[in-house]
């Protein structure tokens, strides 16, 4: 236990005098996860709502595939991305391996199934009168689509926050395709793992605390939105 308290005190000292390495890792974690979730939302929200509204052969197979994607281990996604971005891989020529962009793409793959699945279930769970009312009032497909997303906006926001929480806390993808390179691809999770392995327990705890703060910042709106949704 003393070991843990010493770590906490060391972490407090480190946080009081911000270390550029720690701050850099925190900033990198933030922008990588935010970008990955934004990209996943750009594709995932339309795909999820189309899966809910358009009937086509094999629709349920696609839905099940995305649902299965939600439980993919991050190391598996990291491994697949590694295969794709390595020299011999299909995208090897782009030299993306061990860059932050590789982590963004990996985290995009992590966030996409979450956003698609949640958007699909939010839109398909809407009252059928939403689409009927919009249609009968003369709304075209684009306005009807926007209306359905607006009616499901709480659940969709919840999906985005959950995807962000998953991305910022993941380790497997950042480690495998990022390589944990100092000042380049080191994120909070990979740095925490590294510092702990090196015996720098206080630095590990300091970075875990920053991760914890970020997780709380994300979790509070998730809980609040969840409550709002139950009330409406």
């Amino acid at each position: 236990m003393q070991f843990f308290w010493d770590g906490l005190i060391g972490a407090a000292e480190l946080l009081a005098e911000p270390d550029p390495l720690v701050l850099g890792a925190a900033w990198r974690s933030l922008w990588i996860s935010t970008l990955a979730v934004c990209l996943a939302a750009t594709i995932g929200i339309p795909v999820g709502s189309l899966l809910a509204q358009k009937k086509f052969v094999g629709r349920w197979a696609v839905v099940v595939l995305f649902r299965a994607g939600m439980s993919l281990p991050t190391v598996l996604i990291g491994l697949l991305c590694y295969g794709v971005f390595s020299r011999q891989g299909p995208l090897g020529g782009f030299d993306l391996l061990y860059t932050p962009w590789a982590i963004v793409i990996g985290e995009f793959c992590l966030a996409l199934p979450i956003i698609v699945t949640w958007t699909h279930s939010a839109v398909s769970g809407l009252d059928p009168r939403v689409a009927e009312t919009a249609r009968t009032l003369g709304a075209g497909w684009l306005r009807r689509w926007r209306t359905s997303l607006s009616e499901a906006r709480l659940a969709i926001t919840l999906a985005l926050l959950t995807a962000f929480a998953r991305c910022i806390a993941e380790l497997g993808i950042a480690m495998m395709v990022g390589g944990n390179i100092k000042h380049q691809t080191r994120t909070l999770t990979t740095a925490t793992a590294l510092e702990t392995a090196r015996g720098e327990f206080d630095r590990g705890v300091a970075m875990s605390l920053i991760l914890l703060v970020l997780a709380v910042i994300v979790t509070v709106p998730i809980a609040w939105l969840g409550r709002q949704q139950q009330e409406t």
Partner: protein, 198 residues
Amino acid sequence: MLQIRNLKVDKAGKTICRVDKLDIQRGERLAVIGANGCGKTTLLRVVGGLENEFSGLCQADVPLGDRVYVHQSPYLFRGTVLQNVTYGLAARGMSRRDQRSAAHRWLDELGVGHLAARQCATLSGGEQRRVALARALATEADLLLLDEPLADLDCEGMEFVWRAIAAVAGSTVVVSSPVPLVEEVLPATLRTYRLECG
């Protein structure tokens, strides 16, 4: 404007709506009356293009986008009353300024002008119905299909609804209502069509 011949709608092996012959002229006000479960809602949904599984003929020379149907228990979108009432007007490409003035006019017509800034979730059942009716009437669509528009309304509310229906001069209006309630409050200008069960 609307021609219905030998219309039959079956659900789960049971006929839920049957209309042998019904013609509606442009600008007419028609009340479809009948007991609960005799198919009034189904008939309005077929005419509104929301129900496509039927046999017989239902022909209207009005495009689908100009047939506005108000549900028996209307749905109001999230947001304010004003946002809801301007919805159909925005869909019709009306300018923002005209949308607002038309919305206020129809909300006043239905006696709920003071609710314009309120969130729809905070309205009572009767208020929600009047807002939904204002939203539909504001479009001044060629064909307005109002499913039991008097449900949940007090006498004052009913008067507002009838006055508003009379004010949409250019539209054909079909309302449904159960007997005998509606017969006592029907305006004389309204033609009635009695729907028989089965």
